[in-house]
Symmetry: C2
Subunit: 189 residues, 2 copies
DNA sequence: TGGATTTTGTACTGATAGGTAAACTCTTAA
DNA sequence: TTAAGAGTTTACCTATCAGTACAAAATCCA
């Protein structure tokens, strides 16, 4: 009965989804086992550190995705305005118009926040920094660019909260559209 | 050993704080017992429906506070712009510049969301509606006012998420300040 | 084929979860 | 004075929690 899963990486998305839907504490091992199709023996074989190691691995994979798909383009693109627009569209897809929760944001509000505080802070700090860099040229001061970046990241997180609470994905889309319209290169920016 | 607490209302704030800090599932009866100073027996005397009834009571009390302190002023004030500004300041204090979580928003992201879906949706729908009403006179269309209102409510929720994740209350204050600056009656609004 | 290794199922642990039940203590008022 | 009710303590229930132990199985390498 060996070799159901070849790579540990294969089950990370499933793991992430369980944590997203149920939170860290709410995601019991039996739920995780059910969602991944792996028994306890296998789970502890791949993650000897238990749930904490599972969450750490999930956070690392999320971090990697954002680093390559969002942060790096913002930091290095020759056309910052285009990179920012691409960010909004990538985020809209990633969070399924607010029907999919931001696991890092959720974790930051939750009971187990302290356990993963560094990873959570890092994720948001790097996001704000990348966006600040992309915005720097269109703002008079670094602080103005940073303010704008904080606004946008907060707006995205808040759009998830609001859209989910209302059960209205269109709210997420509208909030993002309006923020996009306030970016450099757009009228009224 | 009777009569430790006179009014059920007296323990609601303590209850609310436990739920805010630990979430619905994370707030165990022993934590609740410790935070309120009431034994299990007493808790079930006041809330025969258990945790669910406790949370329902907390949500009702939160709802009542927002209704009288935020929504009604927005809906009935003769000076909507002043009411909006007052809202931002009341919210800043209430959420302690993002150091205090919005229990309703948190619940909307959590596992037990379905259990309280109606109360959660109601809270945010009424907030958006009240703000839309206050903004209506300064926008060309009802939809424009609603868009603006959604932006603001989402911005507040996102500011909580971001400020908490970063451990930086000043981020909450900056995000709110910028939103306040974009309200009617302000330059650039 | 055969031995070493990786993977998995099952049964278990102690702790804690939410909730129940009943005995007990105090206050109140007739 | 006493009986009723409000409030409380304590002990207990079953279910489930995260985590452990370990042997049976599947696979790999030779």
């Amino acid at each position: 009965m060996a070799r159901t899963v070849t790579e540990k990486a294969d089950i990370l998305p499933l793991l992430a989804e369980v944590f997203r839907e149920h939170g860290y504490e709410g995601a019991s091992l039996s739920l995780i086992s059910q969602a991944t199709g792996l028994g306890k023996g296998s789970l502890y074989h791949f993650f000897p550190g238990g749930k904490e190691e599972m969450m750490t691995a999930v956070l690392a994979s999320i971090d990697h995705w954002f680093e390559t798909e969002i942060f790096q383009p913002l930091l290095t693109s020759a056309h910052p305005a285009a990179a920012i627009e691409a960010m909004f569209e990538a985020v809209r897809t990633y969070f399924a118009s607010g029907q999919r929760v931001c696991l890092v944001g959720l974790l930051g509000l939750s009971d187990s926040r302290d356990q993963f505080a560094e990873a959570i802070r890092d994720y948001f700090a790097r996001w704000v920094q990348a966006l600040t860099t992309a915005l720097r040229h269109t703002h008079q001061t670094e602080q103005a660019a940073r303010d704008h970046a904080e606004q946008s990241v907060a707006g995205i997180q808040g759009a998830i909260v609001l859209a989910r609470a209302l059960g209205r994905p269109d709210v997420f889309d509208r909030v993002l559209d309006e923020m996009k319209g306030r970016q450099p290169g757009k009228s009224g920016g």
